[in-house]
Symmetry: C2
């Protein structure tokens, strides 16, 4: 059926819904594969201390962040045992302040003299040298990593090791190709690690969590909620995130529900729907062709193509057990 059974406790739509059973399955599956600090969960995928706490309860007490805000909120929430900002910053003062204020351990990525200076001037004590392993984004050349590590140590910083994100590999649909490409990327990172020293090799994502055997810790985040893009890779994780929308208009050829592109990250394209074909999204609407007739007021389920920018539009996750909202997790790490 296109219309779903009403979920007790969902008053307003679009609602960001987490299926507790699928979520718990994903967390348990990952914790078995990568227990404790073998996983450094990336909070950018969910931006919620509620989910970070669930990950911590699964033995993962180290976290990966993409923004200063994420570091600040985790530190304030008492989840600051070991926070990595896996990104460069030109001004690290808020990081140093968060570490001091909350007694958190904060490590930041550096890939240049300027970001080393920023770390030192901001009062951050520990860094990882970020190495470009093939994604055209941040990271130094592998052959420059040792020189940067020396510069960081000369600046009084503790160099814990290296990181290098194979973001150009994690989404490749063919597993054999992913395997081959992750090996190429990690050969570069291991080379850099030898030059840098330290005991951390941080890398990986949901698409390579079980293929990347070179990294000492994997920075996966999407695994806990999943999306349609990762859903195509044949991973053992279940779709735990959906948007529940309300049908607001019905015509003979299509219907419209109240879940548009302000509720959905659209960079991977349109969302999918259960038992319906999506035609297009506008600001607050999804126009779709339902497999079975729907009526105004019916609830329908929309699956985002890309979890991270979808979540960033929402204020709260509605956690659903057996057709009922039993908990709410604020999306409390939004913004910068």
């Amino acid at each position: 059926m296109t219309a779903i059974t009403a979920i007790d406790g969902i008053e307003q739509t679009p609602a960001l819904v987490v299926d507790r059973e699928a979520f718990a399955f994903n967390l348990a599956t990952m914790a078995e594969a990568l227990p404790g600090a073998r996983l450094r969960p990336h909070v950018k995928a969910h931006k919620s201390t509620g989910i970070a706490r669930a990950q911590a309860a699964q033995s993962h007490r180290t976290f990966t962040c993409a923004t200063i805000r994420e570091v600040e909120v985790l530190a304030e929430a008492g989840l600051g045992d070991d926070l990595l900002l896996a990104n460069e910053v030109a001004d690290a003062r808020r990081l140093g302040a968060a570490a001091d204020r909350h007694g958190a351990r904060v490590t930041v990525a550096v890939d240049s003299e300027a970001t080393i200076d920023a770390a030192r001037n901001g009062g951050v004590r520990e860094v990882l040298v970020d190495v470009n392993v093939g994604l055209p984004r941040c990271g130094c050349r592998p052959e420059d990593a040792g020189r940067l590590a020396d510069a960081a140590r000369a600046a009084g910083l503790e160099v814990r090791g290296v990181m290098g994100y194979e973001g150009h590999v994690v989404g490749r649909p063919d597993r054999a190709e992913r395997t081959e490409k992750v090996a190429e990327s990690m050969a570069l990172l291991v080379q850099a690690a030898g030059l840098v020293g330290g005991d951390v090799i941080s890398a990986g994502g949901t698409g390579t969590y079980d293929l990347n055997t070179w990294a000492t810790e994997i920075q996966a985040g999407s695994y806990c909620l999943m999306d349609t893009a990762y859903g195509e890779l044949g991973l053992p994780f279940r779709q735990a995130l959906s948007l529940v929308a309300t049908v607001i208009s019905v015509s003979p050829k299509y219907a419209v529900a109240d879940c548009g592109l302000k509720a959905l990250g659209m960079d991977h394209g349109s969302p999918s729907m259960e038992a319906a074909r999506v035609l297009f999204c506008s600001d607050e609407h999804v126009t779709f062709v339902p497999d079975e007739p729907v009526q105004v007021g019916d609830r329908v389920r929309v699956i985002p193509a890309h979890v991270d920018p979808t979540v960033a539009y929402h204020e709260v996750f509605q956690v659903v057990d057996a057709g009922k909202v039993t908990e709410q997790w604020p999306v409390d790490m939004r913004g910068w």
Copy 2:
């Protein structure tokens, strides 16, 4: 130059920046073309009572909304003289409550018996019959509009007239084609208006604000901030919105700044940059080829492709006069 002069008062990036001069020009230009209630500014483009107040100061005291939250926040801010929710809702109770609590005038779009029932049951007193004028989304068939108006009146609702959004027309790059298509759409809406009665014909957008001479009021919103998509139409409005980002990594072939797809609506594609070519965006990064060399810490300017979903990611507009932030407007109508 690719790097911009530092703006005094911008501490954190990505920052959503409004150029006060361009913004004031846009508001004055529109107010001259469509004074007072001839424009019903659509707040979905900016979601800010700060901007709505500026529009009200330009003689526009009627507003168009896309969400219940937008209606609630405007009503609470004392901007509730005449609020139109130009969208169907299956549950209008929050609308009726907002009208009662704040003494606001709230009108809602209806296109079915079910949405008429929702309006009445929610305590809303006035409606517009929403007519499909060619965009495959909400709205009844023109020939059904009179029947729905009768049903609404029978339910005790005041029917103020019709609305019909030519959303399939507003973005067409060729002005002659836009002119022709808006005439086709408005022929349908005028036909429906004759069946419905009332004195409101509400339609239009930034792309048709001066072409749609059939509507009694135009629902334009993007004109005040603009984006690259509307920028291609040769309209007399200036680009007033940009994102200021900080360069965090530089390599020989490209550079990276901290403005990614969680700061940008991506449904119209990648953003543009001043004096640079955008390669791609990831969650918190834009990778670009600068025309002139940049350094870590430099500020750069990013122009979003689609204003509405961009703004919805941000907490606040930084209003800049002559290189300095002089005011902040919270994006206080986000969410639902």
